[in-house]
């Protein structure tokens, strides 16, 4: 097996360049880490801002004279469309709220319908029970009527029996009277 390594000069260059980069950045870091540089930075930023302000003002002025829109005018128009977008977002959220409340209302309605269905089912079974009870009552009524009729017949029979008995008693009384009359007659005759 060969122990020879492929020649790659770039690895060395890479190491050296990384080291150099690190050191140069470190040097710049140290060179700028002082109050003078901070003041320079501040002055540079401020003067740049001032220069830009002047430039923008003149730009606006010139654009006004030439009656052409500036970036600010375009931004104003863009802001209007952003406002519309925001309103649409608000509307979307309101639609969500409506959807949610409708959803919860539907759920409540569903629960209510379920309850109604249960009540109707219960009523149905109750009606069936009542129907059965009514038919039983009818049966009882019929039985009672039968019983009443039988009782009426029985009463007639009893009355008839009583009437017969009365007639018999009357007949007996008549016979008795006849006997007594006969006896009286005989006694009168004997006295003669």
């Amino acid at each position: 097996m060969s122990k020879e390594k492929a020649y790659d000069p770039f690895q060395g260059i890479r190491k050296i360049s990384t080291m150099w980069e690190h050191q140069l950045n470190g040097l710049l870091y140290m060179m700028t880490d002082n109050n003078e540089f901070v003041r320079l930075l501040s002055a540079g930023t401020d003067s740049h801002a001032r220069y830009m302000e002047l430039l923008r003002k003149r730009q606006e002025l010139m654009a006004g004279v030439m009656n052409i829109p500036t970036k600010k005018d375009v931004a104003r128009v863009a802001k209007l469309s952003l406002q519309t977008e925001e309103k649409i977002d608000i509307l979307e959220e309101q639609i969500w709220n409506l959807q949610d409340s409708l959803g919860s209302l539907n759920k409540e309605n569903l629960a209510m319908f379920q309850e109604i269905v249960n009540i109707v089912k219960e009523m149905k079974t109750e009606f069936q029970k009542i129907g059965l009870e009514i038919s039983e009552t009818h049966q009882l009524k019929e039985d009672f009527q039968e019983l009443k009729q039988e009782l009426a017949t029985l009463k007639n029979l009893v009355q008839k029996g009583k009437a017969k008995d009365n007639e018999k008693v009357k007949d007996k009384d008549k016979d008795k009277e006849l006997v007594l009359t006969a006896v009286g007659t005989m006694n009168e005759g004997g006295a003669i």
């Binding site: 880490d33 930023t45 931004a75 959220e93």
Partner: protein, 354 residues
């Protein structure tokens, strides 16, 4: 005799094939246009002004709680979705999370009065509302990176929306520390350096000035090019390098009102740390954060120092809180895809597995 053979004879041990490939790639980088960034599969669910809320569905959904990504206002947010293999968004969707990603967009002249209050309440809070509505989830996890982490922390402390978890990565909370020279910081705190006038005259700080400011943080920067030449034979590396190069030079503009607020309320007066910041009339007290909380920094971060993030862990009132430091740099956290791995490790047990 072939060219290769003669080259090999001339410089022993040189791999001619590799060298040809290397310089061909360098030539391509110099002459071809910047690459297109292919985002992870996504759907726009809301737009407001220049901002867009994207929904990236999970490849195979494993968790009930979606993730909402908040990136910094200082750069373009596509660093978190910079292409397959390096994408933080892709890493999270691969791991089974539904991801919502708010791209702030680049403000134009008409957006000069958009303050941090607007960004937090009108953009972020409304975006999270829409994400919650779209996902149908009862809660959401917020994941903030860099200044996006600061914004996410402020938002979580003042919102009434149901935040399940909060993750902050490489987040600046203490603005009395910084990577700039100490005298510059003192100048900012004393008001010697003041950007109010500049912000007002520009309305929106142009991308060129923003890029210049980043360059000012490390004025000598040849290592990216040396790295490219060193590894140009590796096609995958070149692809990643080109995407990174595009992002580095593609700075976002910054609204003047927010710029003033950033320098005055944060760098000058350090109001967030002192608990004196108010957003939309609501006082920002990080103690109001009581959800599970995870902060991580990287050991070689040259943009946000670890000591800038550290105080937040004691400021929140969450019982479930974790702080970790990982090996790596600020940007490489996003570029290597490690961000998604670290976040997932902590988040997976707190996102209601399906």
């Amino acid at each position: 005799m072939s060219v290769k053979a003669s080259g090999t004879n001339f410089i022993p041990y040189v791999n001619l094939e590799k060298e040809v490939k290397r310089w061909e790639q360098v030539y391509n980088v110099l002459t071809e246009p910047k690459p297109d960034i292919v985002p992870t599969e996504r759907k726009i669910i809301w737009k407001k002004n220049k901002s867009t809320l994207y929904f990236h569905p999970a490849k195979e959904k494993k968790y009930q709680i979606p993730v909402f990504l908040v990136y910094s206002l200082l750069n373009k947010s596509y660093i978190l979705d910079i292409g397959e293999g390096s994408s933080v968004v892709g890493g999270l969707t691969d791991r089974g999370y539904d991801v919502y990603f708010l791209d702030w967009g680049s403000p134009s002249y008409e957006d000069n009065d958009i303050s941090l209050d607007n960004y937090i309440l009108d953009y972020l809070e409304n975006g999270v509302k829409r994400a919650l509505r779209h996902s149908g989830a009862k809660e959401i996890s917020i994941l903030g990176y860099c200044l996006g982490g600061t914004i996410a922390a402020i938002f979580t402390s003042i919102t009434e929306l149901p935040i399940k978890n909060l993750i902050l990565a490489a987040v600046p909370i203490d603005f009395s520390e910084g990577i700039v020279p100490a005298k510059w910081l003192k100048g900012l705190q004393k008001g010697t350096i003041n950007f109010d006038r500049l912000s007002e005259v520009y309305g929106v700080i142009p991308t060129e000035i923003m890029y210049g400011m980043y360059r000012g943080l490390s004025p000598v920067s040849i290592s990216p090019w040396v790295n490219l030449v060193t590894r140009a034979h590796d096609l995958e590396y070149v692809k990643k390098w080109r995407r990174m190069d595009k992002w580095t030079k593609d700075s976002a503009s910054f609204s003047g009102a927010a710029f003033k607020q950033l320098f005055n309320d944060f760098y000058k007066e350090n109001k967030l740390l002192k608990g004196e910041l108010t957003i939309g009339g609501r006082k920002v007290d990080l103690k109001n954060i009581d959800c599970p909380f995870y902060v991580f920094s990287t050991s070689r971060d040259t943009l946000v120092l670890e000591k800038q993030s550290l105080p937040v862990i004691d400021m929140v009132s969450s019982e479930d809180k974790t702080y970790e430091v990982f090996e790596g740099g600020h940007v490489s956290l996003a570029l290597t895809g490690h961000f998604a791995i670290f976040a997932d490790k902590w988040l997976s047990s707190r996102s209601q597995e399906i």
